[in-house]
């Protein structure tokens, strides 16, 4: 049994006839913000779904907090934000949060904290359907934060957000990690890589990189992560 909060070993996922993930292995230590990078369609979402335990896997193993991914006991300890904001459009921000809080069994106090955490205090009584795309994804993020999860899995949470808010959200991720949480954030924007403690780069379902950002730049001699990515892809083909 491993002590890493997230341990993936030889993970393979075949969806239909397409190999979405091929022999992916890595471990993520606690207290880090880990960036999962790669182009659209490279398997990021499938990998995240496998960790959350909602994806049928073909081979290998995924363990979270020492238990097989998807175990019932993990459900209150993992926060998961999908790419599409999975919240009710015909309810207000506060109503959405109060509902999910009741399902998780957390207090009304925590609802208020999470509204503030994602900077939606002014919109708390607005219908989610009337909010902008960025605001909606923040409602979805607030839901994931409700249960004060030990492992937070966020699928492209910063897409389409303005730079100030993006910076603030990354600061929030780091605060959570400093408090001991493990935060896995995916992005297809390579410049977000520098905000991570550690990088996983995925391409065509294979794990290309598992390094810190500075080690990646050093080993490839590139100036930025985008260039490093290109260097690695070219070296591999």
């Amino acid at each position: 049994m491993t002590t890493s909060p997230i341990a993936v070993a030889g993970l393979g996922v075949v969806r239909g006839r397409v190999t979405a993930l091929d022999d992916v292995s890595f471990e993520v230590p606690a207290g880090q913000v880990v960036g999962l990078l790669g182009p659209s369609g490279c398997g990021k979402s499938t990998l995240m779904r496998s960790i959350v335990g909602v994806q049928k896997i073909t081979s290998g193993s995924v363990s979270v907090l020492g238990e097989p991914a998807g175990s019932a006991s993990l459900r209150s300890r993992i926060g998961y934000v999908t790419q599409a904001a999975s919240v009710y459009e015909d309810l207000t921000v506060a109503e959405n949060l109060r509902f999910f809080a009741a399902v998780l069994g957390v207090s009304a106090q925590r609802v208020e904290e999470c509204v503030v955490l994602v900077d939606l205090a002014r919109q708390r009584n607005q219908l989610v359907g009337r909010l902008s795309g960025g605001q909606r994804s923040r409602v979805s993020l607030a839901v994931a934060l409700l249960g004060d999860p030990t492992v937070l899995v966020l699928d492209e949470p910063t897409v389409g957000l303005d730079p100030v808010l993006r910076r603030d959200l990354w600061a929030t991720f780091h605060r959570l990690a400093d408090a001991g949480a493990t935060v896995l954030v995916s992005s297809h924007v390579m410049d977000e890589a520098t905000r991570c403690d550690r990088l996983l780069v995925l391409r065509d379902g294979r794990l290309l990189v598992d390094q810190t950002p500075s080690a990646l730049l050093e080993s490839t001699g590139a100036h930025d992560v985008e260039a490093a990515f290109l260097a690695i892809v070219e070296a591999a083909s």
Partner: protein, 248 residues
């Protein structure tokens, strides 16, 4: 399959579904007004005729309407829940499948109770429907029919990819039952094979129960109601099997 039921979570689901419905004023108005209007239309149709046409058809309609309406409303709402990702999110949380199903059944059962109370009230006190048995029993049958509709709606939502497909299950599953339930021809006058089929359809028992309550002072509808409840439980269990925590 998670079998434990949490009252807190079940009630939270029911409250949330009702809150969403309250936001949708137009749907709510249609749910409550439409059944009354349809029964009134039926009464009007027979107003120029002598005989007991209205008396014969109204009870069947009172059984049919909550079933059809709740079937449609539930299949579309749950499908939305499946496609928007909120179901996947809920199933990744400590939520029992039974909490989800019972929450829906509770919310729509409550709406059906109000809906049927209005339709029954309008039928008896305004349109002059004569009910030989106890009126409350008429309501119980209507609510059970509605919950059956909800359970079947939950089940078929698993087999539809779009709301368009979900709505198509109405004619596929409901209209044959309507034809064979005794509304058009008494079930015992159907050709033998069709009679046998009608014996296997839940709506037949719902309509039988409704007719019995309206025509007999001491209707023994326990058996009919048990069959309707049995179909409801079966649909809920099958529905629970379609709520997958892990998908391909």
């Amino acid at each position: 399959m998670t079998t434990e039921v949490s009252a807190r979570v079940t009630l939270a689901v029911a409250r949330r579904v009702l809150l969403q419905l309250r936001r949708d004023r137009r749907t709510l108005a249609m749910l409550l007004v439409l059944p009354c209007a349809i029964i009134a239309l039926l009464r009007w149709m027979f107003s120029a005729q002598t005989g007991s046409g209205f008396q014969g058809l109204a009870p069947a309609l009172l059984a049919l309407i909550p079933f059809v309406v709740m079937f449609l409303v539930t299949s579309v709402t749950t499908l939305r829940e499946r496609t928007s990702g909120t179901l996947e999110r809920l199933l990744a949380m400590p939520l029992g499948k039974a909490d989800f199903l019972f929450g829906y059944a509770l919310a729509f059962g409550a709406v059906a109770a109000v809906q049927s109370a209005l339709a029954v009230g309008v039928s008896i006190w305004w349109l002059g429907l004569h009910v030989a048995g106890p009126t409350w029993l008429l309501l119980v049958v209507a609510v059970l029919d509605a919950v059956l509709g909800t359970a079947l709606g939950l089940l078929v939502s698993a087999f539809a990819r779009t709301e368009f497909q979900a709505v198509q299950f109405m004619p596929a599953l409901v209209i044959p039952q309507m034809l064979l339930c005794g509304l058009f021809i008494h079930r015992d006058q159907l050709p033998g094979f069709l009679h046998a089929i009608s014996n296997c359809l839940p709506l037949s028992y719902a309509v039988d129960a409704m007719t019995a309550v309206s025509t007999r002072t001491n209707p023994g509808v326990g058996g009919d109601l048990a069959v309707v409840a049995g179909f409801t439980v079966a649909a809920l269990v099958l529905g629970a099997l379609t709520l997958r925590r892990r998908t391909a």
